[in-house]
């Protein structure tokens, strides 16, 4: 029944409903505006939960796919001779599989929680929520789009709202943070676009015979399916080297070196988003300057888009190249883990501790990807989801603390357990999840990623484990300092969480515990998501 509905489009565009309502609401009615925005984020959550319930991992997501022609642009045929048609095809193609399903849920959950957390926003509510919902549409679309250009459009759709959200509603240096965000991510998407354009012009080419009309239809297509099929089929144009075409020039052939280049471009493009070590400076600024609810989205979902893109377009499309590069990726991951952890230990500002901890935790994702086996890949995805939930929760708490104390400097905070026991309790638990306490989600992600990697790269794994120790150091140092320790005079009177803050905290924590004790909620839909990839890898190994 669900398969008859265009469920993926409904999920993606349901926040649009909220935007339409918001447009007609008067701008000083903050209560109505907030309510509308929250409801508009609950819609995609409900729909994606429904999809999750209906999703059967053995059958995959084929049944839910939606394909429609967005554009069929004719190209000038003068250089190709007699053909039926010569086109550039751009499809509106949405799909879901084991890889996108968990991330879709994460986005929907964090979206609602961030909307609830936006109660701290003090000005221009109407435009805040409109940008917020546009951002949500972009994020949902990124995980569901199955056409490279459609993916790009959604990816850019997250860029512009984020620029406004940081630049208008952020803290003191918000504009510089917004600029830095825009430029770094602009460069990232530009590099991604280069890779996509080259891919479409080579691997996206197909020639279809139409026997009844005795003609050939030529097209360049951006569809993910077409590109991956062409890349795997031995007799497609993209795989035919000059020797195989009897010396004829084949403009669509992608040589081994070109594949490396494209993979590298994608690694850099998504590495900026992820962020991988030398490209991380922009995200520190965003973490410190953006309003807490936006950081929840940013740290909770946007960083995950980098890992998702790397998997979807880098590893899935070029498994052979990924195999060659896996040690490099693993080393990048270890660098991220240690660099992030070491710097997190010495930070004086709580938000920066969390920012560096994000870098460290995203390194673990890279390890999981580099393992290129089922355990490790599952670990990477669980780590993505788990870190998304934990960092969303931590920044939710940061927002609440900042609102009460006006500071997030570690030296200004202390002994909060006495004045706000509830928030402190949640903070402690979130910290435990972050350092990987068994029974909470962080443990599962870390453990599986490391386990997967240990299979092939023992030495790297051993170094990476050092990061786990450092994580314990910085988490305990900062969080214990905030909750216990000496309490400054002025903090004695602060109040504990209100209901509207408590609800998202409890919900996020519930998910963290759920994944921690019963990870099957995530591994179940992922079960067959990596089958094709693993099969290709084993074929390559067997050859």
């Amino acid at each position: 029944m669900l398969a008859d509905l265009p469920i993926l489009s409904l999920i993606t565009f349901s926040p649009l409903l909220g935007i339409l309502v918001l447009l007609f609401l008067p701008k000083h009615r903050s209560r109505w505006l907030k309510a509308t925005a929250i409801i508009a984020t609950i819609l995609p959550l409900l729909l994606s939960l429904w999809l999750y319930a209906d999703y059967d991992s053995t059958k995959g997501g084929k049944a839910y796919e939606e394909t429609a022609t967005w554009l069929d642009v004719s190209l000038n045929k003068e250089a190709v001779g007699e053909v039926g048609s010569y086109q550039f095809e751009l499809q509106y193609h949405m799909g879901v599989d084991g890889l996108s399903m968990p991330l879709l849920l994460l986005t929907a959950v964090v979206g609602v929680m961030a909307a609830l957390a936006s109660v701290h926003v003090k000005k221009r509510w109407k435009s805040f929520y409109i940008w917020f919902l546009l951002l949500e549409i972009g994020m949902l679309g990124v995980f569901l789009a199955r056409d490279v250009f459609l993916f790009f459009v959604f990816f850019e759709m997250t860029l512009i709202p984020m620029f406004f959200l940081i630049g208008i509603w952020g803290y003191m240096n918000r504009e510089r943070a917004a600029n830095k965000f825009l430029l770094y991510n602009g460069i990232g998407s530009a590099i991604m676009l280069i890779a996509f354009v080259i891919l479409v012009a080579t691997a996206g080419f197909r020639a279809e015979q139409v026997p009844e009309k005795q003609q050939t239809n030529l097209s360049y297509c951006g569809s993910y399916e077409v590109i991956t099929t062409n890349l795997t089929k031995a007799d497609s144009y993209v795989n035919m080297s000059t020797e195989q075409t009897q010396g004829q020039e084949n403009p669509f052939y992608l040589s081994e070196r070109m594949r490396w280049v494209i993979f590298l471009l994608l690694l850099i493009a998504f590495g900026i988003k992820l962020p991988i070590f030398p490209f991380h400076t922009w995200m520190l600024r965003v973490h410190t300057e953006a309003p807490p609810s936006v950081v929840m989205i940013h740290s909770g979902v946007l960083l995950k888009m980098g890992a998702y893109g790397l998997l979807r377009f880098g590893v899935f499309m070029f498994p052979a190249v990924a195999e060659d590069w896996k040690v490099a990726i693993a080393i990048l991951g270890v660098v991220n883990i240690l660099y992030g952890a070491v710097l997190a230990v010495v930070q004086k500002e709580f938000k920066l501790v969390l920012a560096y901890s994000s870098i460290s935790h995203m390194g673990i994702v890279l390890l999981g990807i580099a393992s290129l086996n089922e355990i490790g890949l599952h670990g990477a995805i669980i780590q993505l989801i788990s870190h998304g939930l934990i960092s969303a929760l931590l920044f939710l708490i940061v927002g609440s603390i900042y609102e009460r104390t006006g500071s997030t400097e570690l030296k200004d905070l202390g002994g909060l357990a006495r004045s706000m026991p509830f928030i402190s309790g949640i903070l402690l638990t979130a910290g435990m999840a972050s350092l990987g306490l068994p029974g909470l989600s962080g443990f599962i992600g870390e453990f599986l990623s490391l386990l997967g990697l240990f299979d092939s790269q023992q030495a790297v794994t051993c170094v990476a484990v050092l990061g786990v120790i450092l994580t314990a150091v910085y988490v305990l140092r900062s969080i214990l300092g905030i909750t216990f320790g000496a309490m400054p005079e002025k903090l004695a009177a602060v109040r504990d969480a209100r209901l509207i803050e408590a609800v998202p905290m409890i919900t996020l924590l519930a998910f963290i515990v759920l994944i921690g004790v019963y990870p099957a909620v995530l591994t179940e839909p992922m079960k067959h998501g990596f089958d094709t990839l693993l099969q290709q890898l084993s074929e390559k190994a067997g050859r």
Partner: protein, 524 residues
């Protein structure tokens, strides 16, 4: 001898009918000039503005009719089964009405109509004392551009260029009392003169080698003589490129642009940025694809070198335009430098030449030109409104525009996104199609330069957004005149429409346009 006679073939009455779009504009110019003399001094000249608009509309109607007529004949055969050419050739093929020229003419006319419409709301008597002249001088300028698009002969081409140039010299300096305007006009005249000289010098070599002025005849001659005079041909093509490079304001020939754009009245700036530039591109297409394309000898790959030179100029224009714009605080100068970068983007499909299976250059060019037309005119229309309110063109005039005029601010967001090449706008797809073309031609380095320059440009385009949304407002009321408002909204809506359904425009061009019959000039 026969060829000479064909060259001298005179204009008949039936030929004249094909030229209706041009005649109408000329007639309107004369009539309006006379009317301007007889109208009382103190009467508002907006009636002349509306009549100008009417003249352009009639001309546009004829141009569209001509285009449908031409398209109807595409692929038709005569009684003997021979294919008939759909191209109308006048005066020994020196004046051609084909799909290429008709499409460009339509774009020029639409652009000029938008410009006139936007001037009707914002041009003040205190600023431009001769408003009548301002309106009707736009007409011969468009005629010049149309002649440039249609010509198949170096002489007609040059006449069109000079007609356009001389009228725009006057238009740039029309704010007689403003020092800046006079300075701009002077600079424009001087660089314009240099440009014409370079172009003529280059063309004289082509004439010297082939003994012909008709592009088709030159193409034939070149094929025979290219191997004898490679050096002369290089000189010729590089001079022609330099001359036209000045006209389209591509780096390194762009230094006049910021000063001239700043000094000229805003509508004239828009005219220079869109029509003047587009017309020069028409010539570039005609000359390069008719002549340079065939200039190759076994020892010297002249054609490849010339097209490579075009790409190098394009790359320089993109990078220099974007980086120089970073420090601009005057929006008009910023638009001038953005125009330099955009000239670079537009040059890419020209420089791609015809490689492999890729032949959609003109489609890509026309689409991006249309998108560029909309975003540039829209942006300058907003600027003219803001100038009217705050009295200057600095970027600070946009401060807090979101609070003062939220809908105009929304339109500016659309233009900025399109200029920066972000989805879903016409500018995004324009760039995407050019990128795909370059990828099909395997020119990956130009792709890298295009996207890098786009990213650099984010900084200054989003600077306008920062002003509008993140700066305290200034207390001057922004009143958007109805006509200018219409222009702003037409441009904004069309930009978004091009961004959501870019297909029809490209389909139309690629289905009907043929390089062989619409771009190449061939002696029959």
């Amino acid at each position: 001898m026969e060829a000479v006679q064909q060259q001298l073939q005179s204009l008949t009455w039936s030929d004249a009918a094909y030229l209706a779009p041009e005649w109408i504009l000329v007639a309107f110019t004369i009539a309006l000039a006379v009317l301007d003399l007889f109208l009382p001094r103190q009467s508002s000249r907006s009636s002349i503005g509306w009549l100008t608009l009417g003249g352009l509309a009639i001309s546009l109607g004829f141009a569209i009719w001509r285009l449908t007529d031409v398209i109807d004949k595409v692929g038709k055969t005569d009684a003997n089964g021979q294919p008939v050419s759909h191209v109308i050739r006048l005066m020994g093929d020196s004046y051609r009405i084909d799909v290429f020229s008709s499409l460009l003419k339509i774009l020029f006319l639409v652009a000029t109509m938008l410009i006139v419409l936007m001037s009707l709301g914002t041009v003040r008597k205190t600023d431009i004392s001769d408003r009548g002249e301002f309106y009707y001088l736009l007409l011969p300028a468009v005629v010049g551009a149309m002649i440039m698009a249609s010509s198949g002969d170096m002489i007609t081409l040059y006449i069109g260029l000079e007609l356009l140039s001389i009228t725009t010299y006057v238009l740039v300096g029309i704010r007689k009392h403003a020092v800046q305007s006079a300075e701009a006009a002077f600079k424009y005249v001087v660089t314009g003169g240099i440009s014409s000289a370079l172009l003529l010098f280059g063309m004289s070599y082509l004439y010297g080698i082939t003994g012909a002025t008709n592009l088709g005849a030159i193409a034939q001659g070149i094929q025979q003589h290219a191997s004898e005079y490679p050096a002369l041909l290089y000189v010729s093509f590089f001079f022609i490129l330099a001359g036209l490079g000045i006209k389209i304001a591509a780096a390194p020939f762009h230094y006049w642009a910021p000063d001239v754009y700043q000094g000229a009245p805003t509508p004239v700036t828009a005219f220079l940025a869109v029509v003047s530039k587009g017309a020069a591109f028409a010539i570039i297409f005609r000359i390069l694809y008719n002549v340079a394309f065939f200039a190759s000898s076994p020892d010297y790959p002249i054609a490849d070198d010339v097209f490579l030179a075009v790409l190098v100029i394009a790359a320089a224009a993109m990078l220099i335009g974007s980086t120089m714009a970073l420090r601009q605080v005057n929006v008009k100068r910023l638009m001038a430098l953005s125009g330099v970068a955009n000239a670079g983007y537009l040059l890419v499909p020209v420089g791609l030449s015809l490689k492999g299976m890729h032949a959609s250059n003109v489609g890509e060019f026309i689409f991006y030109l249309a998108a560029y037309l909309l975003m540039t005119i829209g942006m300058l229309a907003v600027l003219s409104v803001i100038n009217k309110s705050v009295g200057h063109d600095e970027i600070g005039g946009f401060a807090g525009l979101y609070y003062r005029a939220p809908w105009t601010a929304a339109a500016v967001v659309v233009f900025v996104l399109s200029l920066a090449g972000l989805p879903v706008t016409g500018g995004f797809f324009g760039k995407l199609f050019i990128l795909l073309g370059a990828a099909e031609s395997k020119l990956y380095w130009i792709i890298a330069i295009m996207v890098v320059s786009s990213v650099i440009s984010y900084y200054f385009y989003f600077g306008i957004i920062r002003q509008m949304f993140m700066r305290a407002t200034i207390d001057t009321e922004v009143r958007v005149p109805v006509t200018t408002g219409i222009v702003i909204w037409l441009c904004a809506v069309a930009t978004v429409v091009l961004g959501i359904v870019p297909g029809p425009v490209l389909d139309f061009v690629n289905d009907h346009f043929s390089i062989v019959s619409d771009l190449f000039v061939r002696l029959q």
